[in-house]
Assembly symmetry: C2
Homo-oligomer: 317 residues x 2
Amino acid sequence: MKLSQPNILVYDPNHAEEYAESVRESGFTAARAATTYEEAEKFLPGTEVILGWKFPTELLSSPNASSVRWFQSMGAGVNDLVTDSSIPEDILLTRIVDQFGTYISEYVFAYLLHIVKDVPRMRQAQTGRKWDSFLSDTLAAKTIGVAGLGSIGVEIVRKARAFDLKVHGLSFSGKNAKIVDHHFTSNQWRDFVKDLDFLILTLPLTNETYHVINRDILYAMKPESCLVNVGRGALIAENDLQAVLKDGHLKAAVLDVFETEPLPKDHDFYSLPNVYVTSHLSGPSTVAGVTQFFADNLKRYLNQQTLLGIVDRKRGY
Amino acid sequence: MKLSQPNILVYDPNHAEEYAESVRESGFTAARAATTYEEAEKFLPGTEVILGWKFPTELLSSPNASSVRWFQSMGAGVNDLVTDSSIPEDILLTRIVDQFGTYISEYVFAYLLHIVKDVPRMRQAQTGRKWDSFLSDTLAAKTIGVAGLGSIGVEIVRKARAFDLKVHGLSFSGKNAKIVDHHFTSNQWRDFVKDLDFLILTLPLTNETYHVINRDILYAMKPESCLVNVGRGALIAENDLQAVLKDGHLKAAVLDVFETEPLPKDHDFYSLPNVYVTSHLSGPSTVAGVTQFFADNLKRYLNQQTLLGIVDRKRGY
């Protein structure tokens, strides 16, 4: 590495040193790890680039942070950062993109198949040593709707084709509209959901998508359809969803993200029979994946090229 | 339908009338249903075509059956019929082909994803109201081996591509060898299995495939690999598999077919922690599917065209 290296602060409450070590191994030796507010405060002076997760952003408005030019988030969702007024406007924000399609699409099809083939019934038969040769349903010829056609949505669409699903899509930008059989825009939610057997949410959380799945939209869905949320919790009005599920509308809801995370221990979602709760794990930020993305972006930064995953704060992601 | 219609006997111990009704609805009105030996015996004289499942074949060597020209099995596997000496050589045997790819490939990927994403751990976390944000493994970049590249194997390969798996294949005929990354022949079993993360058996049961998965082959597999059998139970030497699994070799075995079906209630497979037992349901013969195949074949029969799914008794399927 010939170019002069920026000072890098790697912040993560749990795994900062692991990430920093990986960043150093990729050739950027001036990377220091911080896991607490105090460590971050101590290392900030002179720091030009931050690779961060759950960073104490109030530090960024202090004079200590005057040298910071770029903040790379370790995640794909940045709704908390774009609305955070303590991050100065002149700090460039980037998020991880194009890393989660494989993971999240595998998660989605794991659950669609689990539900459609009725794996629980098969497991129950085994536990009871019962021969139960029932007729499973199939994904083939059913209709999936993918809300959000970014890199995650695109990968779900690709796998949906291999399962011979009919594929509908909704996106705000119209991007990738041509890869689906029917494309809907953001003022067509009711039309979009009414024919779907499976609705998959991969949208970012913005002012326009907050509680976009509410009572009205949920009741516009077919009673036997399934809802999968791998975007952000607050895409769904959770109280509405809970009421609708208790009413017996919807076959199942697969929820990896929630308005409050971790999902509070006393939440009804844990025990509703037609709800699958998972712990925001469908699109994991792995050390290897984040480091590779960050190192590529650092090279672009040093070469004054446009960075990948630049966040448009007005757009909201 | 203008051509003179053959007399058809539809035999099934449970659903004969349902199948017969469906056959009649497709235009072949001379279809009679039998569910017992006695009924079959009564209706045989004058019968030209049999659509059958678990048919009492000893009847076929009696003079009552002298008018029978063609026996269409309702299933894909015909290992019991090809070795059955009570079926006269001059009765044409056909089996259902090209009907099970969708069902069986969905079953296979339901279980591969269930295991790789560790759905049981997610379900356990939910039951315990625990936030367990662990890192799942992925199918992507792993290696699947498909033994048997008929219509079922081909459909598994197609879906494997969408999951970015490396795809190896083994077939006896060499058919479809070009659709896999590495093709192996029947004298290369050890080489075939040694690099696989997932071995999927879709082979018919013949003299050459009986117990082809034995202790030697199982130990040639990687300790963390998974075995899925959607072919026939006796492809696997079950005692060997049981011993190997108890030894902790293999991550999991997904078994839909068994040497004895229903699997006896006291069989260890039901309770081994790394075994998934299902009740020969991955490739169901549905009334609609069987009727459509049979009706197409009947039209070929009446037009003296070559039938679909002709069984070569010497080859064994």
